[in-house]
Subunit: 355 residues, 2 copies
DNA sequence: TTATGGGGAATCCCCACAG
DNA sequence: ACATGGGGAATCCCCGTTA
């Protein structure tokens, strides 16, 4: 006798070829700025994954208003427990939508990965082994082996110029980022944004070389042209559908001046939920939820937007411990994916078609 | 016993609330230009539907290069068979896609309503009761009781500046418009386009008033501002998803100069196939094609893009002569329309549930 | 290679509902 | 009236096919 042997559930719908990256953090050594690197190299050599030069330079720039000189070259050989940034809550990886500037503000902020409908959480970091005042800066970087500044902007609470800056008081050891939003810069405008960032970093680089961060540096026509060209190149193939948060912390000394820079820490990637393929996969409705163990039955499945060439329907059986004891895939081709919102497939046979 | 009683076919899927307009043509009297009307009035009084003033003025302007004076005021009381434009083939109403400028040229032209896959036809007109040379002009107008010039442009063969102009030789009594395309002007740019048209028509109006079509007229700041304001108003609620072709003909005398203007004739409306709701309704796939006469069976239907609030599924039975002997509607609500591409409905009972 | 057609991505707009 | 979330319209880009 045929019987309903396999149940279908939402988790059974899976996309092929998706890698869910885990969170990353950099080594805990003090960051040491290299004065030979303009941040414009294309080398993919990243045995020692480092913070991109651009980024730190930019941050120094932003802190410029403090009018004091940070000794970027300080070496610490201190082996004691060193301060470092820890991400205590990652941002949600999926389900958040990047909004365009034209969509206006206030469409809800980025939540934490543990967020629930009626118990919302938010991305948060903690500065370990340190209890004094600091300034925390968050900006967006690309999801690459060697991350670069991203064209998108952080907007929302405490944000300006695409960057989020929070001054942390003594004793406040956790920083929670409620209402952080990712503003989706259009592909067209992304070149401009990146160009600006490059120009600033090149200026800053000059200033660092001159050893004076308080005097404006100027770029030659040539350098400007180069910045533009480079920006256009970067903008052209920058992935606009994924960003990472880059957290940086500047520790303040007794007088409130910046004394140390902690190594940057990157969050796990955040995928734009509006982007094709980045959607949370979801089965909305099916015309049958059970059938013959022999398989080969046609099922109409209505789903959220999928990619006809990168989607499959997976049947799984798990034991009490959640181990997969059986799996098989629904049978269909790209042609059976209707307008990205429905799939017509044939059921696979159950492992024991007579059971 | 239950049996398959009603068949489903593509024609059974119908939208509510769609009016398919029939073709229209204006009265056959000679067109008489009113010199008091700038074409800018908003009156919806159209007992005698007339050609909008803008249009004709524009055409005169376009013909200006001929450097001769057309007597626009000629009255004919002639009762003999008068020349007139007849549309011998209407354009296809549905299934044609308006293309944006950015989409580049050559995506296929507007076809005739009788066009078939391997026997294509095109919109065509005939000038009746006349065999001499003429110039035929086609442009786009709105689908309103009082048509206005449309923001969209005609492009393709013989087109320039959004207008199609064909010189017709003696003896060629049919003009066929192969490769006419409608260029979709963006809502933003539509105001500019319309403003330009209004400015031209106002200039022309002045020139007409001055009785000299060969000398350029100038507008005051005030008039320009008024044109702009009016254009913005018109652009804001102009329907960009539908146009009509406006055919005009200028008969030439023995020396090749324009001697008479025939009354304009409008085609039936042409709906942009890419626009929501203007799609050809189509059932792509269903999970069952027959069922119980008692009805109340759930059917998953995959379709082309529909509007969840303006769609229904109709079951019909026709006799041999095509008369409807029974009809009923599938039962579903907007919530059952999945992302515009699928409908889950319950079948209605057949007229005789026991048969 | 262009002509023809079509799918869907990127951008933008606006609505419904909850607080 | 705003904060949040979401659907879909308007615009744009690009691909496979066929003539």
């Amino acid at each position: 006798m045929n019987c309903i042997k396999h149940a279908y559930d939402n988790d059974s719908l899976n996309a092929r070829g998706r890698g869910y990256s885990k969170s990353e953090s950099f080594d805990e050594n003090w960051y040491k700025m290299s004065d030979a690197d303009t941040g414009s190299d294309d080398s993919k050599d990243s045995n020692t994954v480092g913070v991109p030069q651009f980024l730190v330079v930019n941050n120094v720039h932003m802190l410029n208003g403090d009018h004091h000189h940070v000794n970027m070259y300080e070496e610490t050989v201190d082996d004691e427990a060193k301060p470092y940034i820890e991400i205590v809550e990652q941002p949600q990886s999926r389900g958040f939508r990047f909004r365009y500037e034209c969509e206006g503000p206030s469409h809800g902020g980025l939540q934490g990965e543990k967020s629930e409908k009626y118990r919302k959480t938010f991305p948060a970091i903690k500065i370990r082994n340190y209890n004094g005042p600091s300034r925390v800066v968050v900006n967006l970087v690309t999801d690459e082996a060697v991350p670069r500044p991203h064209a998108h902007k952080l907007v929302g609470k405490n944000c300006s110029d695409g960057v989020c800056t929070v001054d942390v008081k003594t004793g406040q050891n956790t920083v929670t980022f409620a209402n952080l939003c990712v503003q989706h810069v259009t592909r067209k405008k992304s070149a401009e944004v990146i160009e600006q960032r490059i120009i600033e970093s090149m200026k800053m680089d000059k200033m660092v070389k001159l050893g004076n961060l308080n005097e404006q540096a100027y770029l030659s026509e040539d350098e400007l042209a180069q910045a533009k060209q480079q920006a256009e190149k970067q903008a052209k193939d920058m992935q606009l559908n994924v960003v990472k948060l880059c957290f940086q912390a500047y520790l303040k000394d007794g007088s409130g001046l910046i004394s140390k820079v902690l190594p940057s820490v990157l969050s796990s990637p955040i995928y734009d939920s509006k982007a094709p393929g980045a959607n949370v996969l979801k089965i909305c409705r099916m015309d049958k939820y059970g059938g013959s163990c022999k398989g080969d039955e046609e099922v109409f499945l209505l789903c959220e937007k999928v990619q006809k060439d990168d989607i499959s329907v997976r049947f799984v059986e798990q034991d009490e411990d959640g181990n997969v004891v059986w799996e098989a895939f629904g049978n269909f081709g790209p042609f059976d994916v209707h307008r990205q919102y429905a799939i017509v497939f044939k059921t696979p046979a159950y492992k024991d078609p007579n059971n």
